[in-house]
C-alpha cells in the first residue's frame, strides 16, 4: 500500500482522538539538531470544523484485536487496515516538521496482536526520531491498555506527554462498551505515569540545585531523559453512556487532584457504528460538551470547587446559562463588588470578567481609579459585568432588577450557532470565548515580560484551542 493511502487511513482512524495540543513542554533549540518546543504549544492549521491541527496525529496501525462498541477500528468492523513501518512514520514526521506543518507527532494505536507488541513498534518509531534523528520537537503518545509497566516506562522517556484514555466515565459503561479493557488496565498506567512524572521532576530539580559558591556550581549530570515532562492528559466519551454531568465533573476533579492530570478532555459521542449497546441517535451532544468544558475551565482556572458548579440534586449543567453565570445568579449576596478594591479571587467570579481581565484590573488599578471607560479597555465584557460590579461606588446595571430571574434573562446565552452540517443545530458556535464576551484568547500576552503569567497563558491557550473531537 502506498504511503499516501496509509497516511489517509491512519489519520482518519485517529481523528476522533481528542487533544492535539503541543503545550506544556519548553525545550530550547540545540545547534545541529532539529526542533524545539514552546510551553504554549502551537496550532499549525485548522480543520474545516475549526479544530486545531498541531501534531501529526495518526495511529501506528488501525488493526485491532479489541472490539470497543464506539470505535471504527474495532475488530468486528470491516474496514481497510494499514500499519506504518516505524521508520516510515519517523521520516514522515521529520519531513512535515521541516516544512513547519506540525509541532511533532501524536501517536496512538489499535492493538496489533498484543499490547506489548504494539507498544514496541511505537517505541521503535519514537526511538528513531529521538535517538537516531535527534528530534527535539513535541511527541505525545497514548499507551495501549494492557501494556506492561516496563514498556510504559521506556515510552515515557521518549515523549513529552504520555496519556491513557479513560474512555468512559464509569466502570459499568466500560464493561459494557469496551469489554476487553478493564478499569485496572487504565488506572494502573495512569498512576504509574503520575508517579514517574513527579519523581523525574524531583530528581532533576535536585541534580540542578546549586551546591557551591563557585561560579557555575558543580552539576551532577542528569543522565536520564525526563519522564513525560508535559505530563499526562486523558479523554472520555460523553453521551455514549448514561452518566450525568455531575458524575463526569466529579471524576475529572478527582483526576486533577489525585493524578495531577494536565487536561481532561470530553468528547461528544459521534455515532460511527450501528450497535445495540449505543444510544440510537444521530445527534452529537456538542452543546453539552461545550458546557462541560466551561465547567472544567472553572475548576482549573477560576478556583471553583465541583460542589459550587453542580450537585447531585440537579446533575446536569444548565443549557441556557453558562456555569459561571449560574453560580453568580445563585450567590447574589456576594455582589456587586467594587472593581477598585475587590480581591482578585472575587473579580474572577464576576460574569464577564475573565482571568486576563481580572489580572489587568488588578494591575491597572494600582495607578488609576477605574471607571467604566477604563474598564472597557481592559478586555472585559462590560455588558455582562455591569450587573455585578460598582466602579468607584457607582452601579451601572440599573434598569434591571437585582434579582435572580431578571438577571438570568440578561445573562442567558444559549449556545447559538448551527448553520452548517447535517446536525446543524448541534454545531459548536465557537471555542474562542468560553464565556460570552470574556477575552481569554490572545496568543501573545497583552503585556510583555510578565513571567509568572506565561504559564497561565500557556494553559489558557491549551484550553482555549481544545481541538476536541470525539471517539
Amino acid at each position: 500500500m502506498d504511503l499516501m493511502r496509509k497516511l489517509e487511513l491512519l489519520a482518519d482512524a485517529a481523528k476522533y482522538d481528542v487533544a492535539c495540543t503541543s503545550s506544556g513542554s519548553d525545550r530550547g533549540a540545540v545547534r545541529g539538531r532539529l526542533g524545539a518546543t514552546q510551553a504554549a504549544g502551537c496550532c499549525h492549521s485548522f480543520t474545516p470544523d475549526g479544530r486545531c491541527i498541531s501534531l501529526l496525529k495518526v495511529l501506528m496501525t488501525n488493526v485491532c484485536a479489541y472490539d470497543c462498541a464506539y470505535c471504527s477500528s474495532r475488530c468486528s468492523n470491516e474496514v481497510e487496515r494499514a500499519a506504518f513501518q516505524p521508520r516510515e512514520l519517523a521520516d514522515l514526521t521529520i519531513e512535515f516538521y521541516r516544512r513547519n506543518y506540525i509541532e511533532g507527532l501524536f501517536l496512538s494505536s489499535g492493538v496489533l496482536s498484543t499490547p506489548d507488541y504494539t507498544t514496541e513498534l511505537m517505541i521503535e518509531c519514537l526511538r528513531i526520531l529521538r535517538e537516531e534523528y535527534g528530534f527535539r520537537g513535541y511527541i505525545h503518545a497514548k499507551t495501549v491498555p494492557g501494556t506492561s509497566p516496563e514498556l510504559v516506562d521506556v515510552m515515557g522517556r521518549l515523549v513529552d506527554r504520555l496519556s491513557v484514555n479513560l474512555e468512559l466515565p464509569s466502570q459499568e459503561s466500560l464493561a459494557l462498551l469496551a469489554p476487553q479493557k478493564s478499569r485496572q488496565q487504565i488506572l494502573a498506567p495512569m498512576r504509574q505515569i503520575a508517579e514517574s512524572v513527579a519523581e523525574s521532576k524531583e530528581t532533576r530539580a535536585l541534580a540542578r540545585r546549586r551546591n557551591t559558591f563557585y561560579s557555575g556550581g558543580i552539576q551532577r549530570a542528569v543522565g536520564d531523559r525526563p519522564f513525560a515532562p508535559a505530563g499526562q492528559s486523558t479523554q472520555m466519551i460523553v453521551g455514549a453512556s448514561p452518566e450525568s454531568d455531575f458524575q463526569i465533573l466529579s471524576l475529572s476533579a478527582a483526576l486533577y487532584r489525585s493524578l495531577s492530570l494536565k487536561r481532561v478532555f470530553f468528547s461528544a459521542y459521534t455515532p460511527v457504528n450501528d450497535d445495540a449497546r449505543l444510544p440510537r441517535t444521530d445527534a452529537v451532544q456538542l452543546n453539552r460538551e461545550h458546557r462541560l468544558y466551561q465547567a472544567d475551565w472553572l475548576l482549573r482556572f477560576y478556583q471553583f470547587d465541583v460542589s459550587e458548579i453542580i450537585d447531585e440534586g440537579s446533575p446536569f449543567l444548565d443549557p441556557d446559562v453558562d456555569p459561571k453565570a449560574n453560580w453568580a445568579l445563585n450567590h447574589l449576596e456576594c455582589f456587586p463588588v467594587e472593581v477598585n478594591t475587590a480581591p482578585y479571587e472575587m473579580l474572577l467570579r464576576v460574569p464577564g470578567i475573565g482571568v486576563r481581565g481580572a489580572q489587568s484590573i488588578v494591575r491597572a488599578r494600582r495607578t488609576a481609579q477605574l471607571r467604566e471607560q477604563e474598564l472597557r479597555k481592559l478586555g472585559i465584557a462590560y455588558k455582562r459585568a455591569r450587573f455585578f460590579i460598582t466602579c468607584n461606588g457607582s452601579y451601572a446595571g440599573g434598569g434591571v432588577a437585582f434579582e435572580h430571574d431578571a438577571l438570568r434573562m440578561q445573562l442567558a446565552s444559549p449556545i447559538r450557532g448551527g448553520r452548517h452540517g447535517r446536525r446543524a443545530d448541534h454545531v459548536l458556535p465557537g471555542q474562542l470565548s468560553l464565556f460570552e464576551g470574556e477575552s481569554f484568547a490572545s496568543k501573545a500576552p497583552a503585556v510583555p515580560a510578565l513571567p509568572p503569567r506565561e504559564k497561565a497563558l500557556a494553559e489558557e491557550r491549551d484550553a482555549l484551542l481544545p481541538e476536541w473531537s470525539m471517539r
Binding site: 496550532c43 480543520t47 475549526g50 516544512r99 506543518y101 495607578t367 490572545s442 501573545a444 497583552a446 510583555p448
Partner: protein, 265 residues
C-alpha cells in the same frame, strides 16, 4: 534635516524611511530641535496637512542607538523590546505612537519609577503602544503557525508569507533556532522583505524581485501528503467554517499549502 525654516516649529510632521532606525532617528531629531511633531510618518505614506511643515528625517544608526540606550536606561530592556515590536505595525499613527511613548518613557515622574512602565495600562501613551505590541505579537504568532516551507532544487527551504505587519524580523530567530540545520528564506511579499538564514546566522534583505527555483519532486510529494492528511481530518458532523476562518484568516490562505486547490485524484 535640510529645512530652511526656523525651529522649533509648531505644527510639524517628521517623515522617516519606514525602518526602526529611521523612526528612532526621528525621535532623536525631536529632542534635538526641541520640537513636538504632531505626525511621525513613513515618507511614502505621508498625507500633507494644511499649514503643516514636513521634515524628512535622515536615518542615522548612532542616533537611533542613543535613543535605544536612553529608553533602556530609563525604563529597562522590556520597554525597548516593546518599541521594536510596535514599530513593525502598519498604520498611519504607528510612528507617532512610538514617539509619544519614548517621550513619556524619558520623562516619567520619579514617583512612578518603581512600577514597570508597561504596566501603566491606564496611561494612553502606554496603552496605545501596547495595542501595537499586541497586534505585532498576534501576527508573529500567526507566522509561527502558518509559515510553510518548501524544499527547492537548490537545497534551500523557502516560504512566502503575507503578514499584515512587518514581522519577519521578529520571527527569524525562532525559526533559525528550531530549524537550525536547514538554510531557509522567509519572503514577505507584502513588505518586500526577505529573512535569509544560511545555516549559521540570519539577516534581512530588502527587495521586490525574487526568483524562486522549482521545488523538488520529493517536496511536491510531501505537499500532497500534507494535503491528504489535512483532508482526512475533517469531521463532517462538526463543519464550522466561521470558526476556521476565525483562527486562520482568509487573507493568509493563499500561502497555505493545505488550502491550495486539489489536483484531481
Amino acid at each position: 534635516m535640510s529645512s530652511a525654516q526656523a525651529y522649533p516649529l509648531q505644527d510639524v510632521a517628521y517623515l522617516y524611511d519606514g525602518t526602526l532606525e529611521g523612526l528612532l532617528s526621528a525621535v532623536f531629531l525631536a529632542y534635538e530641535r526641541h520640537e513636538d511633531p504632531i505626525d511621525v510618518v513613513r515618507e511614502d505614506e505621508y498625507e500633507p496637512r494644511l499649514l503643516q511643515s514636513a521634515i524628512p528625517v535622515e536615518t542615522d544608526f548612532d542616533r537611533a542607538n542613543r535613543v535605544r540606550r536612553g529608553v533602556e536606561r530609563a525604563c529597562g530592556r522590556a520597554a525597548f523590546t516593546a518599541i521594536v515590536r510596535a514599530s513593525t505595525c502598519e498604520g498611519y499613527d504607528t510612528g507617532a505612537i512610538v514617539y509619544r511613548f519614548v517621550r513619556y518613557a524619558m520623562s516619567r515622574p520619579e514617583s512612578m519609577r518603581s512600577m514597570p512602565i508597561l504596566e501603566e495600562l491606564a496611561n494612553p501613551a502606554v496603552a496605545d503602544l501596547l495595542r501595537l505590541v499586541k497586534h505585532a505579537g498576534n501576527e508573529s504568532e500567526r507566522m509561527r503557525q502558518f509559515v510553510r516551507f518548501s524544499h527547492l532544487e537548490n537545497g534551500v527551504w523557502f516560504a512566502r508569507v503575507n503578514p499584515n505587519a512587518n514581522v519577519v524580523p521578529l520571527i527569524m530567530g525562532y525559526f533559525a533556532a528550531r530549524l537550525n540545520d536547514q538554510p531557509f528564506i522567509i519572503y514577505d511579499e507584502a513588505h518586500h522583505l526577505a529573512g535569509v538564514y544560511d545555516g549559521r546566522s540570519w539577516q534581512l534583505v530588502a527587495g521586490d524581485a525574487v526568483s524562486v527555483p522549482p521545488a523538488t519532486d520529493h517536496d511536491r510529494q510531501m505537499q500532497e501528503a500534507w494535503k491528504r492528511f489535512y483532508d482526512a481530518l475533517a469531521v463532517d458532523a462538526r463543519y464550522n467554517p466561521e470558526l476556521r476562518r476565525h483562527f486562520m484568516p482568509v487573507r493568509l490562505w493563499r500561502n497555505l499549502t493545505e488550502l491550495e486547490p486539489r489536483a484531481a485524484r
